[in-house]
């Protein structure tokens, strides 16, 4: 289907089902129950899942296929966000032109940075991209204040021109982002018994874009171009002596992944029309590297899983505080309760990075192929057990 083989079609369908039914899947606990804080099915967080999923899918096209580790991809995300917000300020609140501009501008930006950075490979390439990203961050933070509004961040105001829209709505407030009149923030709430499921327009736009981005990445992975990118990772020497010019291949991969990052940035601004320099900081670049490796670099679905995993932990673990812990461990004797809370305390709230760090370490050490490898191992184990059962029953039959 869609020019994909069976296995890839199945994967696309799985991702489609997961994203389209996310409001149900991520909301397994009834509202008001003790477990409700583990629910992730609210629009803001779901949007972040898919937007970072798109970011990581794009990053994986560069890192997973060619092996070039960029440490500055957040720069493209930031450029995408600024472009989108400028489109909201100048043209209209429609998200389509904003997203198109962010993809185009970040693509150009990636062409420029890639052209210079790709003159080197390995660690030098990583350092060059990191340097460019930090330069972009500092430009956005201070030097280019007229364009980026410095440390405050770029925001919409009541006196923006918005040629094709209105500067202010009838009641004097800033208009909201929309897709041809369909407001991004509008949410339909479905109440089923104790559960409340939220269906948000913005989330579904992001989810559809994610599906398109994922489909495109499958096509790239399975194309002759994708095979050449894997060949770049495997042996550049042989590439050169086989009449292939590696430079345009790596540059094309860099620009494509930069455009994915720009798309993610544009969507981020479309959901919440502001852009700040912190989006370009090196920690943000590092985060997408973590997502890709945690999920499984070079696999199709890995980056999406990694992005979901990290964003879930960031949002859920960081919300657990000592009061919540005391509630959980209230059944214990007083002294023991305090002790357990004291032990767990560094790993929650602001300390969630510690939990993430431990998980990342465990995955890299025991599952170098990321969460995808974990899934494959479980699959093999289940299959192995089944086969064992079959073979034991098969050997039994003749004896009877």
């Amino acid at each position: 289907m869609f020019g994909l083989d069976n296995k890839d079609t199945r994967m696309l369908i799985i991702v489609a089902v997961l994203t389209l039914f996310a409001p149900f899947i991520l909301n397994p606990f009834p509202t008001g129950s003790a477990m409700a804080q583990f629910n992730a099915g609210y629009p803001d967080l779901m949007q972040r899942f898919v937007i970072f999923g798109i970011f990581a899918i794009g990053f994986n096209i560069l890192f997973g296929l060619t092996g070039y580790l960029s440490f500055g991809h957040a720069a493209f995300l930031g450029v995408g966000s600024y472009s989108a917000v400028w489109m909201f300020k100048l043209l209209s609140m429609n998200v389509v032109p904003a997203i198109l501009l962010s993809v185009a501008i970040s693509g150009l930006f990636a062409l420029l940075i890639g052209f210079v950075s790709l003159r080197r490979s390995g660690i030098y390439f990583s350092i060059l991209t990191l340097a460019f990203a930090q330069m972009s961050f500092n430009l956005a933070y201070s030097v280019l204040t007229p364009i980026t509004n410095g440390e405050t961040g770029l925001q919409l105001t009541l006196d923006d021109p918005r040629i094709l829209g209105v500067s202010a709505t009838a009641d004097g407030s800033i208009p909201v982002t929309s897709l041809f009149g369909l407001e991004m923030r509008s949410t339909f709430e479905m109440v089923v018994g104790p559960w409340a499921f939220q269906f948000n327009v913005g989330y579904y736009l992001c989810a559809l874009v994610l599906l398109a981005a994922f489909y495109l990445s499958i096509r790239i992975f399975r194309s002759p171009f994708g095979m050449m990118l894997r060949a770049v990772k495997s042996n550049q020497q042989r590439m050169n002596y086989t009449g292939l010019n590696t430079k345009p291949y790596t540059l094309a991969a860099f620009v494509i992944s930069g455009m994915y990052a720009g798309l993610a940035g544009g969507l981020m601004a479309s959901m919440d029309p502001l852009a700040g320099a912190e989006r370009m900081q090196w920690t943000a670049s590092g985060e997408v590297v973590l997502m890709t490796i945690l999920g499984g670099a070079g696999t199709l679905i890995g980056p999406v899983l990694g992005a979901g995993f990290i964003k879930y932990f960031e949002n859920i673990f960081s919300k657990i505080n000592d009061t919540v812990l005391h509630n959980w461990f209230a059944f214990m004797p007083d002294g023991l309760e305090d002790f357990v809370v004291f032990i767990v305390h560094p790993f929650i709230g602001k300390g969630w990075h510690l939990t993430l760090g431990i998980m990342f370490m465990l995955v890299v050490v025991f599952l170098p192929g990321g969460l995808v490898e974990g899934g494959q191992r479980i699959g093999k184990w289940v299959k192995g057990r089944k086969n064992k059962d079959d073979s034991t029953s098969a050997t039994k039959t003749p004896a009877e």
């Binding site: 002759p224 994708g226 042989r238």
Partner: protein, 251 residues
């Protein structure tokens, strides 16, 4: 006039004159061996032919065109393929994929942004790669991870990859270095077969005299960066100058 004409090529690395004044002419559809003791400049010469090094002086003409100043991939597209001393293949890819890449390079050139069509849909490339694997007797290994092939099979695959580009000149850099006797003999048989069945010129650098004398039509002996003699194999065997270069004055 040979297909490859090397004229007055010199190359200096700091204080070391690696190549003095090399003249070499490789005739079309022959096997030309370049031999010489360690440090004679064989590999330097080869690197000057494929664009890895640029000689300080002289000219290298392939089929009437200069190769100097061109990048390795451009020289390859002109029709010169190179086999390395240690087999250079795409270790992370399957054997079939390894064979498809040179077929793509032949069909689509040095770069093509063919990012939407799928690999299995490229029937012509797939057929060509399969046929070449058949010819190399490696069809049963097509789905193997190429890094897990034996040394001899890696060499076969690399030669097959070069041949699938239909080169006019095949350069072999010590193709049997570090091989067991059986693998060496297999490689010799393979090269003999290639020589008989194809319109191809082969230039080979080799240490192993057994390989050289079973394949070469013409031999150039290099010593200290300059060609000592160029002659037919039977004359090289008895040449006192060659013995001297290999074994020293006392011999």
């Amino acid at each position: 006039m040979g297909i490859l004409e090397v004229k007055n090529v010199g190359k200096r690395f700091g204080g070391l004159q690696a190549l003095g004044d090399v003249n070499l002419s490789v005739k079309e559809n022959t096997v030309h061996a370049i031999i010489g003791p360690n440090g004679a400049g064989k590999s330097t010469l080869l690197n000057c032919l494929v664009g890895k090094l640029i000689p300080d002086t002289g000219s290298v003409m392939f089929d009437g065109q200069s190769v100097l100043g061109r990048k390795p991939f451009e020289i390859n597209q002109m029709g010169i393929s190179r086999v390395f001393q240690t087999p250079e293949i795409f270790g992370d890819l399957s054997v079939l994929e390894n064979m498809m890449i040179p077929c793509f390079a032949k069909r689509d050139g040095a770069f093509s942004l063919n990012a939407i069509s799928s690999v299995p849909a490229q029937k012509d490339v797939l057929e060509k790669a399969e046929a070449m694997l058949e010819e190399m007797n490696m069809a049963d290994k097509r789905h193997m991870h190429s890094a897990s092939l034996s040394r001899g099979d890696k060499r076969r695959l690399e030669i097959g990859m070069c041949l699938s580009q239909e080169p006019r000149l095949l350069l072999l850099d010590e193709p049997t270095a570090g091989m067991a006797r059986a693998d060496t003999n297999n490689t010799i048989d393979l090269l003999k077969e290639i020589k008989e069945q194809r319109d191809i010129t082969i230039a080979i650098i080799e240490h192993d005299m057994h390989v050289v004398f079973s394949l070469a039509d013409r031999i150039t002996v290099l010593a200290q960066g300059t060609p000592l003699v160029e002659d037919d194999p039977q004359n090289i065997r008895g040449n006192p100058k060659v013995r001297e270069a290999y074994l020293g004055e006392s011999a």
